[in-house]
């Protein structure tokens, strides 16, 4: 099952945060809030090496990402899929997301010691509410 164009546009064109769920090594769900990136290759987000999310993904790449329209909570899309970690382009991505979500040209909370990483989601299943198409 694939995302429709309107679901892609919903995530691409709006600064709506996502709730991302990864699996702890014991299999239990761990959820946090992320900025969502959408490009021609699909859906991704950005985090930093050493955090819970990338560590969980290395142990089990199965992931869910849910984006709710904060102005109309009866419109939302949730994808389940498989995550992969990419270091390349991760610094550029967090700056791009700072533009999308904060209107700033670069990510203001960057720490010298951290290594940003991009998490790309291969979409497995999609559920959605409030989309015509």
């Amino acid at each position: 099952m694939a995302l429709t164009e309107s679901q892609f546009a919903f995530m691409r064109d709006n600064p709506f945060v996502g709730v991302v769920t990864t699996l702890r090594p014991d299999g239990s769900p761990h959820s946090t809030v992320v900025w969502v990136d959408v490009d021609d290759d699909g859906v991704s987000f950005n985090t930093a090496r050493g955090r819970v999310k990338p560590n969980n993904i290395e142990s089990d790449p199965r992931i869910a990402l849910t984006v709710v329209n904060p102005e109309n909570t009866y419109q939302w899309v949730s994808i389940t899929g498989t995550a992969s970690l990419t270091d390349e382009g991760a610094d550029g991505q967090i700056d791009r997301l700072a533009k999308k979500y904060l209107g700033q040209d670069s990510y203001p909370w960057r720490q010298e010691s951290e290594q940003r990483v991009s998490v790309r989601i291969a979409v497995g299943r999609v559920s959605a509410v409030g989309f015509d198409a």
Partner: protein, 133 residues
């Protein structure tokens, strides 16, 4: 680990939806959007028997519940723990939530023959942002 009074009030007092993640039979995460509730004992939500969420929970009761302030995505709380069903005050809860979220009673939403159930989640782990104190 317990919710702080500020986290409890954040969920209880506001009509902010939650992303609930349950586990499919294969262990992969499945997320949907629900009305959320909280009290001194923890977080809860309301669903109906026979839907996917309660079926998942019967198979594996581990869930996460994440509530984001729609007006300020830097304020959020995420609870993960073990879910258990309560029939006792399920009707009372859905009516309170319906009034809080829609301003109307639940009759317009009710599916004939459904049995509502309250799902209470023990706060084994609590994450969050912007709600300290």
């Amino acid at each position: 680990m317990a919710l702080t009074p500020a986290q409890t009030a954040f969920i209880h007092d506001n009509p902010f939806v939650a992303v609930v993640t349950t586990l499919r039979e294969d262990g992969s995460p499945h997320s949907t959007v629900v009305w959320a509730d909280a009290d001194g004992e923890g977080v809860s939500f309301n669903t109906a028997y026979g839907l996917r969420k309660p079926r998942h929970i019967e198979h594996d009761p581990r869930v996460s519940v994440t509530v984001v302030d729609p007006a300020d995505p830097f304020r959020w709380v995420s609870v993960s723990g073990v879910a258990r069903f309560t029939d006792e005050d399920a009707e009372e809860q859905i009516e309170r939530l319906s009034l809080l979220y829609t301003g109307e009673d639940f009759s317009g939403w009710r599916v004939p023959g459904e049995q509502r159930v309250k799902v209470r989640v023990s706060a084994e782990r609590v994450g969050g942002w912007g709600l300290d104190g």
